[in-house]
């Protein structure tokens, strides 16, 4: 038996968009028209259907969710987010190894909104995208996980730190080893900077390289073969930043501070 709520919510994009809009609060017809950029006439039927189903009320001039409407739509939002995310870049997500994302964050992966997948052109394969650099350099605080050594990053982060940006970096053992072996100078410089907090992550499961700041989230999830295929996901939306920060915190908690005085 088909559930009528499944039908009402999922069989019409217009109805669903109206419901999700009303989740943020009551709206007047003018606000709804403006939000969707459509004729009022085209909203009359879906609103009537939602009212008949008891999900939307229309006291006076405003439209709002009823209590069961709210109950249902609160539970539409997460799955809608997940479906949108995977739909938009299906090819990217299908090939990802998501094991490094803890269960409670994987469940909420739909909170990564308005993401773009960046893939470098062959001739600037080793340079981060300009948009990424621009946002990074304008951040007030930066949290990063280095699980791949990128030759540009140490100087980039030193420059950031000199501007007074607060920085936390979680390094994996492999990256720290690599820097100790042939990037001694760089490592020393980073370690000596007051506002860079360096942490060492020693567990086996390799975290994805991520950067999350007050205006940028970027992650390089590994592919199914556990390889970095130079495809990064980037987003500037608040809800993505929040999700990214929680992912950083998850790994930060398991890392230990590298003392400044260490030689």
């Amino acid at each position: 038996m088909e559930s009528s709520l499944t039908e009402i919510v999922w069989f019409s994009e217009k109805r669903r968009k109206i419901l999700l809009l009303l989740l943020s609060g009551p709206k007047s017809p003018e606000e709804m028209k403006k939000e969707f950029g459509v004729d009022w006439r085209s909203l009359i039927l879906p609103l009537k259907e939602l009212k008949e189903e008891g999900l939307v009320n229309n006291p006076e001039r405003f439209y709002e969710l009823s209590s069961i409407g709210k109950l249902i739509v609160e539970n539409v939002k997460p799955i809608e987010g997940v479906l949108n995310l995977f739909e938009k870049d299906a090819d990217y997500w299908v090939k990802r190894d998501l094991n490094a994302i803890p269960e409670y964050l994987l469940e909420r992966i739909g909170e990564i909104e308005d993401s773009i997948i960046t893939e470098p052109e062959l001739n600037d394969m080793f340079e981060p995208p300009k948009e990424f650099i621009d946002h990074l350099m304008n951040s007030k605080h930066v949290h990063s996980i280095f699980s791949i050594y990128h030759p540009l990053y140490p100087s980039l982060y030193s420059k950031l730190a000199e501007k007074g940006t607060e920085i936390s970096i979680v390094l994996t053992e492999a990256v720290l080893e690599r820097m100790r072996e042939d990037r001694q100078e760089e490592l020393k410089k980073i370690q000596s900077i007051e506002n860079i907090n360096l942490l060492l992550y020693k567990k086996e499961l390799c975290p994805p390289p991520i950067v999350v700041t007050d205006n940028l989230f970027s992650a390089s999830f590994f592919n199914n073969q556990g390889m970095y295929d130079h495809r990064d996901i980037m987003s500037f939306s608040q809800s993505s930043l929040k999700w990214g920060k929680e992912l950083f915190k998850y790994y930060q908690k398991m890392a230990i501070e590298i003392s400044k005085s260490e030689d």
């Binding site: 088909e2 709520l5 999922w10 209590s67 109950l71 539970n75 995977f86 998501l98 469940e107």
Partner: protein, 265 residues
């Protein structure tokens, strides 16, 4: 052919059922056919669509969810169970007042699981509901909030306390007054029992009664007009007990907001 993900997971009951079945674990075609009571001819196209959309994969004879398939099904479940709960008793849910339920628990009403709605029986209108009275003695620890006092309530709890059941009873000021004035003897007796504690809520949650024990939970909500219409919910699901315990955590910790609790001496 590739279809949109929303179409893939929601537009076909059969596909949805395959996804939900595989969420429980991998299955071969025979098991899928048997569980869903379908023929090969009717299910194969759906399985194909799911495969083409990378939601399921086949390893030899076995079908299982991919990582994104699993992530998607997991996020579908809250919507499916919330819809089921609402649809089972739509008039009831549509006419409730949820002011006493904080937002983080309101959106998880699905945790009530396989609940039963108890409709008042006109012949027993003035008695405590049998479903409640019968299950209290089966509980080893009881947490209750009441904002109305039924005449037989205290004797029921006194009996349970005397049998060794741990009781935490949260009451509104009105209830406390009434107990002191009309049931002083029982009240004092209950206070004497070490495994029973009574708390006073200075600011009352807007709810007639809620009880959670180690065995069941029992919830009374006001209706839209803020009247108690004696339509109650009982559930025995593990998730519903957890939900109710979180509700009590909220009532206890949000002392500034909801209730200041002072232990009576």
């Amino acid at each position: 052919m590739k279809t949109s993900l929303i179409n893939t997971v929601w537009f076909s009951e059969k596909r949805k059922n395959v996804l939900l079945l595989l969420y429980e674990g991998e299955r071969d075609l025979e098991q899928i056919k048997k569980s869903l009571n379908v023929t090969t001819r009717s299910i194969m196209p759906q399985i194909k669509t799911l495969k083409n959309n990378n939601l399921i994969e086949q390893k030899q004879d076995q079908f299982c969810l991919t990582t994104i398939g699993k992530t998607i099904v997991k996020s579908m479940l809250p919507f499916i169970s919330t819809s089921r709960i609402v649809e089972e008793n739509k008039d009831f849910w549509a006419s409730r007042n949820f002011d006493a339920i904080p937002p983080h628990l309101f959106s998880k009403i699905k945790d009530l699981g396989h609940y039963f709605l108890i409709e008042p029986d006109i012949h027993y209108m003035f008695e405590l509901p049998r479903e409640f009275v019968d299950n209290i003695p089966k509980s080893k620890s009881i947490v209750t909030f009441i904002s109305y006092l039924h005449p037989t309530f205290l004797s029921l709890y006194l009996k349970a306390a005397q049998a060794g059941t741990n009781i935490s009873l949260f009451v509104s000021e009105n209830v406390l007054e009434k107990m002191k004035n009309e049931y002083l003897e029982q009240f004092n007796e209950l206070m004497k029992i070490t495994n029973a504690t009574i708390f006073l809520c200075k600011e009352n949650p807007k709810i007639p009664m809620v009880t959670v024990t180690d065995w069941f939970c029992y919830i009374c909500l006001f209706n839209e007009e803020e009247r108690y219409d004696h339509r109650d919910i009982i559930s025995f699901d593990e998730s519903s007990l957890k939900w109710c315990n979180k509700l009590f955590d909220y009532y206890k910790t949000n002392t500034q907001k909801l209730c200041q609790i002072t232990e009576l001496v």
